[in-house]
């Protein structure tokens, strides 16, 4: 509620710079974490293209693989891999903050909440690797 007769002292307010996130590691890490979503989206697009190539037969799949071998795509995917791992790790590490799991009245330590996420991640990765690599 604004009181029209209220005394409003003169004050100074500094404008927040567009580059507020540069120079402080915590803020930069946050921006990188948010930006990693773009790379996650890119990998989803690559997977969809892969499925489409698979559907169109061996010739289309060979063309898709050739496209993947393009140095630019290779570099982009290498960067994407880094951001995907960064995305997953930061996500799992934030999970204990969002979930206050209580057992017998006591809150579980952060590591106990994060650990099942990592275990599930490793297990799913192992299953996918087994499917892909068994020949």
């Amino acid at each position: 509620m604004i009181n029209p007769t209220e005394y409003v002292p003169k004050s100074f307010r500094r404008r927040v710079s567009t580059f507020w996130w540069i120079g402080t590691w915590a803020y930069l890490k946050f921006i990188l974490r948010e930006a990693s979503s773009i790379f996650v989206a890119w990998i989803v697009v690559v997977m969809l293209l892969q499925i489409r190539a698979l559907k169109h037969g061996p010739a289309a799949y060979a063309a898709f693989e050739k496209w993947l071998a393009n140095p630019f795509i290779l570099a982009l995917n290498a960067i994407s891999f880094f951001f995907l791992v960064f995305h997953a790790v930061t996500w799992f590490n934030l999970a204990p903050k969002a979930m206050a799991v209580r057992m017998r009245g006591k809150r579980l330590p952060a590591a106990a909440v994060a650990a099942p996420n990592y275990v599930a991640w490793v297990m799913v990765s192992a299953v996918v690797a087994w499917i892909l690599l068994r020949g």
């Binding site: 100074f12 927040v16 915590a26 946050f30 934030l94 969002a98």
Partner: protein, 248 residues
Amino acid sequence: MANRITLQVQRYHPQRDQEPWFESYEVPLRKEWVVLDALNYIKDHVDGSLTFRWSCRMGVCGSCGMMVNGVPKLACATFLADCAPGPIRVEPLKNFPVLRDVVVDTSDFLVKLGEAKPWIIRKTEKPLNEEYFQTPDQVDAYKQFSMCINCMLCYAACPVYGLDPLFMGPAAIALAQRYNMDSRDEGAQQRLDILSHSEGIWGCTFVGECTQVCPKKVDPAGAIQQYKLTASIEWVKSLVLPRGASPR
């Protein structure tokens, strides 16, 4: 250890200055001195016009929050020796309008704090001669959030609040959650509308710095994320359950 250290303190006089500037002061570097002691030394012996807020000198009142070398800190809990060899840059809390020197206008926070209804709400009060019992586990559920001293360091660390001053902010939400988690409280539904607003919990992008700078280990970032889960469940319930089924 050198026996003197330089403090670069931000100065701003609303009637004289267009914008803030820095003044350097040399103060004795004593092992047991905190930044607040240095500021008091300056005020007593060097420049009586230097203006800053303080009260308890022991990290309880939350008055002496300021930026020390760019990080939101309680001046009474930041030792000069830890900042040696200096210079130590002392600025007013970021994201707030500066009234004078390192004093900021806290009105915005106080309005938001009131909106969070940080008190126990009961549908029916017990008679005065009856007590509200709580088990240690029930106290544990909210105790961490109740440690907040309203020092506003979390607001200074929050880039969302800096960019969007309408955002309710970390401490107000953590304090709302402190009462939501209290077994004696019945006001969670009253707080839901203000908290689940786009300028409430959904304004938070989980930078997490509020928790890092909190001198009382309140973890406002955790409170906000936990409440996001609660608000989402309430929203699903309002979709699935017939109107009037969930208690309001």
